[in-house]
Amino acid sequence: MVTKLKEVDVVVVGLGWTGGILSKELAEAGLKVVALERGAMRSTEKDYSVPNIRDELRYVVRHDLMQNTARDTITVRNSPSQEALPMRRLGSFLPGEVVGGSAVHWSGHTWRWTDMEFKVRSNYEERYGKNFIPADMTIQDWGITYDELEPYYDKFEYTAAISGKAGNIKGAIQPGGNPFEAPRAREYPLPPLTPILASEMFTDAAKNMGYHPFPRPSANASRAYTNPDGSKFGACQYCGYCQRFGCEANAKGSPHITVIPIAMKNPNFELRTHSWVTKVLKDTDGKKVTGVTYTNILNGEEFEQPAGMVLLCAYAINNVHLMLLSGVGEPYDPVAQKGVIGKNYCYQTGAGATLFFEGRHFNPFMNAGGSNATMDDFNINWNFDRGPHKFVGAYNVSGGFNTVLPIGYRPVPRGTPQWGKAWKAATAKWYQTAMNISASGSVMANRYNCYDLDPTYRNAFGQPLMRMTFDYQPNEHRMGEHAAKVVNDIAKSMNPTHLNEATARTLPWTAVPYQSTHNTGGTIMGTNPRESALNKYLQSWDCHNLFVVGANVFPHNASYNPTGPVGALAYWTADAIKKYVRDPAPLVAA
């Protein structure tokens, strides 16, 4: 028995950054908006306050703010020939399940992706010729430009209280910033965070080698701040509990302290928590969607929520899952290379070194989410010639710390016993003396890295789990070798007492341990419906009143964290929808 509810203008599925931004913007534009969030409401005052939030076991190890895999998970495999098995508990990535989504527990690293990504195929073909791109590398241009997105990056950065130093304002290179970044209209809203010893030592070493390090831009307010919407931020306390935790100081740019409370004050907006969307409903002719069905997970009751427009704003993986479950768009077939839903799933890669300096005190428990220095000399810098190294893509290198707590972080030189007196002595000796340098690398799309519905395993609602097929390709292995050498060269130049060297990743991707919650692709944006699921306004090519927002729209994954373009594209889409409601039709001709 499904109860049919009264139609609303817009139903938003998932209330994190993207759902929060769109809910606020569209409610303010006069539309009646209902947001359906599977998680619960939690607040800074009740849930993210000291001392209880300072609990590594609860939040890092036991995933208190994360998706509960007992109810719904994905199956994983490295290649189409392998049998996919369920990810029985979270590991490699950690989607959030709470009002605010993953943006409650993120670290805040916020980047502007540039035309190096948005025109990826054109760029590489132009520079290196068509044959430089492997035949099975399904990279494609995004259909959007940096210049189009710049005002929306700016809006997101000012909303989310990004602390940083501009490197390029309207073409003028700024000392202390990232000289390789694309031109921005103005400075960051807040100055950079106070550097920590590890980021200072990395900065000195990188400069000595001729590189261009700069403080990482992040949504950790370096001082108290009120954003343009009037949302108030406290100053970051460098508490060391950022990633996986809610912020007790309201210093982390998160939707539950910004766009969501503003939307909730608007009479046009209604939030329903504990509401699990099971399907997007299509009109009989398949040209439009008519709403969604959802279950109130407090009592199992099922509802149909009719809506003039549906916005999928759940975690990237779950947006793609809903599209496949709902039969919107043609599922991708990696063998025939037809269809689009599920195409171009990408992840990230990396290489890291641990450096030990006897006598130094790094105090690894004092840091913000963004306490590191970064260099883009091998990232968004075309002067770095990929030709001789034979890889497409890029990596950034950084030195510093982000939420290193003692159950998970007790660095010792390689070869140290794992238990007993020698282990204890080494743990005590080296804990304070270690710092990290790491590279974070892009992953280019590959025809076989994709999503579809699992033939065997089901979730708590009896629906097929999503199946993820993913592995790193030789392209990424080659990039990893280059990155590991650069990391090790910088590390060695610092003359550490001991060095655990970085090594290139060549083994298959694994579902454990944690790597990064930067899953991209599956419902990608693009220039035409044969190659992409969405147009440049994140509007479905198939159903023009359906928009899908999140990192699932990225046609490939860069080395940068995804939230900058995720937030910017949410504002970009909000503006497109405000135009769309005046003339509901495809915003781009197919």
């Binding site: 001392p51 036991r62 895999t69 790094f362 159950i407």
Partner: protein, 235 residues
């Protein structure tokens, strides 16, 4: 570790007459080492999950992996065994957040945890299988082995050179065993381990302290005067 442990005492007490119980209690207490600190007074903790054999195993494991020295008291004196018992008895041990639908396949290592068992069931089966291996190899259960023999067993488990005859996979058992010992040493003391914050004191971790905004410059490249605070200290 003497051959006559608490397990023998408790088994004997069940079998023996009421009249002999009191002296045995005194004897058992006399054999218990003096607690390292006053707060560690509960040398005979109650267990919510572990049975006698399992308790003996976990206590021996905790004390072998975390032996007493000038850096910390031994594992049972900082509550590693208590942490493990409570974790197994609680929601995590019973499979909270674990996708528990079949079919069950061993899978590739890259596919992560594929055991059909909850953590508590795996722990129980793993202890039993390890003791079976120890009896076969040394004629005694793990808790009765010499320090050298225990070291051999842990090395065998950690490298998966030991395999279990009943087919129980060694790797997930060892991974869980190791992780829970570390959790018992470094998690907040509200969970029963890290008693007196001994694990945090070992490394100089300040615990649940709330603010470092001023400290970040003040203690740059300097030792932070850490007297760690736990959640209960601040509650």
């Amino acid at each position: 570790m003497t051959d006559f442990g608490r397990r023998d005492f408790l088994k004997g007490a069940v079998a023996g007459s009421v009249a002999t119980t009191a002296p045995l209690v005194a004897e058992a207490q006399a054999q218990t080492p003096a607690p390292a600190t006053p707060a560690a007074a509960s040398a005979v903790p109650g267990y919510a999950f572990l049975n006698l054999d399992e308790a003996a195993f976990v206590e021996a494991l905790a004390d072998h992996m975390v032996p007493a020295d000038e850096l910390t008291p031994k594992g049972t004196d900082i509550g590693v065994n208590v942490y493990i018992d409570r974790a197994l008895a609680g929601a995590w041990g019973k499979g909270d957040r674990l996708y528990m639908q079949g079919p069950w396949k061993p899978g590739a290592p890259s596919q992560g945890y594929q055991s059909p068992l909850t953590p508590a069931q795996l722990y129980r089966a793993g202890i039993e299988a390890t003791n079976t291996h120890c009896r076969k190899t040394y004629g005694k259960t793990f808790d009765r082995l010499t320090e050298q023999q225990r070291e051999e067993v842990l090395l065998g488990l950690s490298t998966a050179k030991i395999t279990f005859d009943n087919g129980l996979p060694v790797r997930p058992f060892w991974a869980m065993l190791y992780q829970t010992v570390m959790e018992g040493m470094f998690s907040d003391p509200i969970y029963g381990g890290n008693r007196n914050k001994a694990g945090w004191k070992l490394i100089g971790f300040p615990g649940a302290i709330a603010v470092h905004r001023e400290n970040i410059e003040k203690y740059k490249d300097k030792k932070f005067p850490s007297n760690p605070l736990s959640i209960s200290d601040m509650s």
